[in-house]
Symmetry: C2
Subunit: 406 residues, 2 copies
């Protein structure tokens, strides 16, 4: 059989799997104290009472003749679509139809699968550093061509560093699609209305598709940062938006997300206009059977009045951790970015250590796990990501340990 040489040529492990392996090796050496994990972006607090109850109640219902639900609708139950429209978009002044929202098992799945809408030779751009899924999903189907030193033949990377204020320069030679994440994973920085308007205008002028990942929108605290790209005029003609319940409602272990594809968004093919909403619907119906009733009930519960109050508590707790990290490290002379509209703090590695050297040093000197910036792309070299998803106590202790060790 002829196999996929692009998939076979990937670096062996997905970034976070590689880090898990490195930490497991270190644990075998019996470290002097407990390891504190500020690495993978996994939440640690339980589902809120209201959400857990809705999840459990609807799971029990599945055991009754009246309450049983078989195959879910491909694109999501109306009750969840309506809750998203009413609670996530209407307050922003954004009007959406049910048929513009597609519920799925994760923003990772959606941002990984969305490339199937594009032609095999479509030109892709990503910011650098970048969430690895955008690159890996395109690389493994061969769209990026062969590997080069630190990249791919056919991938455009747009560096985002402290020097340019984490706002990418927009190339005149525009790609077919660009992946953007705001608030950003890994840098924790977020686009302002003005910055995002500049990007939308550029995308519209060049016929570029924006794949906008707003999985962290619940963490936005500043007024000049949009919660949705659809708050920007013209975005319905050039953007899709991927959202998730993972980081606001603590759903990393529940698996629910959604992607918005406006009806207007279309592309010319052989002289006719094709709507991306139709393409994605066709793909979804053939490739998945949707998300279970209990999971969608839990997601909807996180959006009602009680649910929103409770999950805001979760988010505020993680944001408080982010502040502790940012302020503690800044005071110790380490340059920090993000952490204001995001659960991620992006720091300059001290002592000119490379990001993987700092990873090792941090693990061995402080028994703290983080994520090396270079794992997110070449422009992440010299940076390091810490997450705010641990407990307040462990977060404070981790900061103390880091400050002492560096």
């Amino acid at each position: 059989m002829r196999i996929n040489r692009y998939l076979a040529g990937m670096n062996k492990a997905y970034l976070f799997a590689e880090i898990a392996n490195k930490v497991a090796d270190y644990v075998k050496e019996q470290p002097p104290r407990e390891i504190i994990r500020l690495g993978i972006g996994d939440v640690t607090r339980p589902l809120t009472p209201h959400v857990a109850q809705a999840f459990a109640d609807s799971a029990l219902k599945m055991g009754t003749p009246e309450g049983f639900h078989g195959y879910p609708p491909y694109e999501g139950y109306d009750f969840l679509l309506d809750a998203i429209i009413k609670n996530e978009y209407a307050p922003l002044g954004v009007t959406l139809g049910r048929d513009e929202i597609f519920v799925s098992d994760g923003a990772k799945s959606d941002t990984g699968n969305i490339q199937e809408l594009l032609s095999a030779d479509a030109k892709i751009a990503v910011t650098d550093p970048v969430y690895p899924v955008y690159v890996d999903s395109n690389a493994m189907v061969g769209r990026l061509g062969g590997k080069t030193e630190g990249g791919y033949e056919r991938l455009t990377t747009l560096p985002c560093t402290a020097e340019n204020g984490f706002m990418p320069a927009l190339p005149e030679n525009a790609p077919d699609a660009v992946y953007l994440c705001s608030p950003n994973n890994p840098t924790g920085t977020a686009f302002t209305y003005a910055q995002l308007k500049t990007i939308v205008d550029w995308a519209k002028a060049h016929g570029t598709l924006i794949i906008y990942d707003s999985a962290y929108k619940a963490y936005i605290t500043e007024k000049d940062v949009p919660h949705s790209i659809f708050e920007i005029e013209g975005a319905r003609d050039c953007a899709v938006e991927c959202c998730s319940f993972s980081k606001n409602a603590g759903f990393t272990g529940v698996r629910c997300a959604y992607t918005v594809i406006p009806r207007e968004l279309s592309a010319e093919l052989d002289g006719r206009l094709v709507r991306l909403n139709d393409l994605w619907r066709r793909r979804s119906e053939s490739r998945s059977n949707g998300v279970s009733f209990p999971v969608q009930c839990a997601a909807a519960a996180s959006l009602d009045e009680i649910g929103r109050r409770e999950t805001q508590g979760l988010v505020n707790g993680y944001l408080a951790n982010a502040r502790v990290i940012r302020e503690g490290l800044t005071k110790a002379g380490i340059a920090c970015y993000g952490g204001v509209n995001s659960p991620y703090v992006w720091l300059k590695t001290p002592g000119k250590l490379s990001s993987w050297e700092f990873f090792d040093a941090l693990l061995r000197r402080a028994q703290v796990v983080g994520t090396p910036g270079a794992g997110f792309g070449a422009a992440g070299e010299g940076y390091f990501r810490l997450t705010a998803f641990n407990s307040p106590e462990k977060t404070a202790e981790a900061v103390e340990r880091i400050v002492k060790a560096f």
Copy 2:
């Protein structure tokens, strides 16, 4: 932006979505009596008490600090992998390692995604009739080339009809991969040990990958029908097996499945051997975050002693329906296949009606919904699929109505 012309060129709706639309249109005409649905293969009985309780209990646990689970392991929790090994394979004399099993949200996802292991120019074969996902997933990434009348330029179809006893002729000019489903969707027939041995020997001799869908294995009642392809000598070198909790434990609305990829299974690429298990692991880790803890608890509960007894009751109930359909229609002079090792009965359309003509006639004369054989491929023309997943009462009534109407 340049979009995917293969996806854009698909027929507009996925088969079962198209049928749902047709039925919805008919309902608007106010049919004379309730419509009985024997169309889509969706179960109708609730989760068993033991399984629903495990699901609900673990959902509630997600709301407690001790019981919360974040991102699941990419390939499944050990407790579920072990339950699969012990209950699904050990009794067959098949030994598997945890690292050979990959838990997912559905056999539809797995059979749709598995093509990513293959090169863009790999030659694909499917039986005809066929579960549309195998074809659609390859077609929409462009592997099958352009459409032809009733097929694709680069797709090999292996007709399975009453004439050849539903055993495909195996081509000398072998494909890179062949999709097989046994017990079969849609024909309801199943390969015997001897037939499957012939296929495995052929695949090994030609370096062909067998993608073996055994989602319906729980329905096997005859002794000479294998429950797993790994009961056949040599299969570990040429086959992957996709299984599901949907049809045995009633999980269509819960979403849990698994795929087995043996360690031995490998292919040569540029002079080195590449293990498909490694490729699938790499893909899974980059493209999904696995299946939730509560869903995996529910799946494991369906495999323990109480769970197996209860879910066997579900299966037996559906098998009894299949017998009612088969015997009732046979007695009325309609030729029927399947339904012995399967919840599907595959019938010859009476009066030489085409399968879509019979669909319309059945809907309008008997108010019964089924699935036209032609929807599953050219060789399905003149056949029709009925499912045993409705209640005993409605199933019996549907048979009565059909016998009266034709």
